[in-house]
Symmetry: C2
């Protein structure tokens, strides 16, 4: 075990798609040229295609949090009544942004690991017909839980409120039917299922959201969605774009479109299912009541801190996985599936997990978790053959 | 299984060490500058360090076969009596080179999978005291067999013959004590345990070999060891060097030296041992009677062609492994360990192998081969802790 390859196995940044990484080498290009406009237009068209929407999809040099900020500062006004669903650290970020901009937020909180159920949103919408927006995470990355976006979206669309979905880890890991479900703003980030480094945020905007934005009065400058939309229509970005990342994005989108977004989602779903089966085989409990497919949050055996597992992956196998955030720090570890992950990755991860658990006193029959993953692989393969 | 990462798992080219790959981006450098001389000198010093010798070590823009050619054309004369040990496709290459240059070769042949034993070399040396050279593979990559280089070297050193060792897959996978064992010429290649792409050949030359070269009369031009030695002493190569590869080599050598060549060897040995244990657990037979650690050649189950396994790795897991060469084509598949391989790679490979075998009708209990690998990992880890 003298060689331990560095393996990035976190729910973001995720493993890089190598041709996208190599495309970044072509960054000696000026962004106000026809050559770059061709790349930029292609990337924007690709984003629209993988989002699967006719709504506008914008791209900005920022992390996903920038797009969250932009959705508030561009579409709302101080004092607007909104509903904020929070079931983890990223839900808390919505709360912070809403407060920073002086929105009047009705916070629907669910305990970590749990989700805000559609009926609570329905009740809150009924209680306040003047609600201008509902904020949520599609996938709450801090706990691995997935919200019922379809049900909530279909409720919100019947009201005057817009539905603002942080899908930063939801895109590419769960179906998100933007038009049919009424998802007015859908936010993504480059370092997630898009398989490229951090630095780009994406944001789809529905006609209903644009309409609300017309009367919005909150101040903003860098994040100007209207300006960005106009620039994008001309094949440019408003400000200097992160050219290397746009080149990478364009390459990754070609790959994702070639595979099909539905298959990328299915890939994550399969890996998540296999991981849940492995956890059961290793007598470990899942943390989320409604686990999604972007990542699986697993509780360590009783008496073992998850920090031991995170450290074990790094020390024994050179792999970076994540523990819990905030109060969940030692309570969970998170295995990622979003983006450029495959079964071969998962075989290694579970084999490594078995060794780490044993080294720390948990009884594990070697190969049992791996066998659970292999069984899911075999069943999926049979399914594919049957469907063909 | 919609995502299948391309994984290069062959015994050469081997997986690339990422920082070495990235270093190639600095190739906009001229080779006749002080800047590049610094890199080149560092690479040559690094080669000497990992070879573990005070002999000269030369570097040439060529594949390993070029260095094999050079060792004959620079050190021998037409009609020279030599002994050629051959136990596979690479031994046959020595025979071809010896014949191309008109050497008088006594060919000691061993069947594929077997090795030429030291007693046969001893007998041949005794039978012809005028023998000028003995040629051999340290590790015969076509079969996975390893020659007893120490024993044979110690015999050859007592004679006037020089010992020319193709260690292209031997370096970094087995101990090779150049001075103590009398290894006069030791040949390496960049795309093996050196973890970088193909294109560079290495060659150590002992004083005894230089001495023989003085009276050598075979014609040669590009491959001129004396010239190369003189150029190298000045921090340059005779001809235009493959700058990108030298930059990569320099980076990889820093990594290998940091780890220690002995540990790189041990890494391959551990992975090879674990692979052999997995093969046994899966009821598969090893092909080589004296298996080395550069790769493990495994026979498929009776009635199954190894081509099915090679194809299975590619189709199911995007991984490139190798079958047999020539008449061994369908008889074996080869799993590599040399260079930048780790246990996490092996967990995946064996989990994948289990699924491929099952899909083709071989009875396999899922996870059993992986458990064998994990057991070797655990034992090695305990050994490391006990030694610490």
């Amino acid at each position: 075990m003298h060689i331990r390859k560095q393996r990035l196995l976190t729910p973001g940044p995720t493993p890089l798609y190598p041709p996208a990484l190599h495309a970044m080498m072509a960054s000696d290009i000026h962004h106000r040229t026809e050559e770059f406009r061709t790349v930029y237009k292609s990337a924007l068209a690709g984003l629209k295609a993988v989002y699967g929407t006719t709504n506008d999809v914008l791209c900005m040099a920022a992390s996903g949090s920038g797009a969250m900020d932009a959705s508030v500062s561009n579409l709302f006004s101080r004092g607007d009544k909104v509903i904020v669903c929070t079931a983890g650290k990223f839900g808390e970020r919505w709360v912070e942004i809403a407060r920073a901009y002086g929105l009047d937020a009705n916070v629907l909180e669910a305990p970590y690991g749990s989700v805000v159920t559609p009926d609570r949103v329905e009740e809150a919408l009924r209680a306040e017909p003047g609600t201008k927006g509902v904020f949520i995470q599609a996938s709450e990355s801090s706990t691995g839980a997935e919200h019922d976006i379809e049900s909530i979206g279909k409720m919100v669309r019947k009201t005057d409120a817009i539905f603002v979905v942080d899908a930063i880890t939801g895109l590419g890991t769960m179906p998100l039917d933007i038009e049919a479900w009424g998802l007015d703003v859908v936010i993504g980030g480059s370092q997630k299922a898009f398989m490229i480094p951090p630095g780009l945020a994406f944001l789809s905007v529905s006609p209903k959201a644009w309409e609300l934005g017309k009367s919005a009065t909150l101040p903003h400058y860098y994040f100007d969605l209207k300006k960005e939309k106009k620039s994008g229509d001309g094949g440019e970005s408003t400000w200097t774009p992160a050219t290397s990342l746009i080149l990478a994005l364009n390459e990754a989108l070609l790959y994702i479109r070639g595979m099909g977004m539905a298959k990328l989602v299915e890939n994550a779903q399969l890996l998540a299912r296999a991981t849940r089966e492995a956890a059961v085989a290793l007598d470990l409990k899942l943390f989320a009541t409604r686990p999604g497919s972007s990542l699986t949050a697993i509780c360590p055996p009783a008496g073992m801190s998850s920090a031991v597992i995170v450290k074990g992956f790094k020390q024994k196998f050179g792999a970076v996985i994540t523990g819990g955030q905030g109060s969940m720090k030692n309570e969970i570890f998170r295995l990622a599936h979003l983006g450029y992950f495959d079964f071969s990755d998962l075989f290694s991860v579970i084999a490594g997990l078995e060794l780490i658990l044993r080294a720390n006193g948990h009884r594990v029959e070697l190969g049992k978790g791996v066998a659970a993953v292999q069984t899911v692989y075999e069943a999926a393969e049979v399914g594919v053959q049957a469907a063909a």
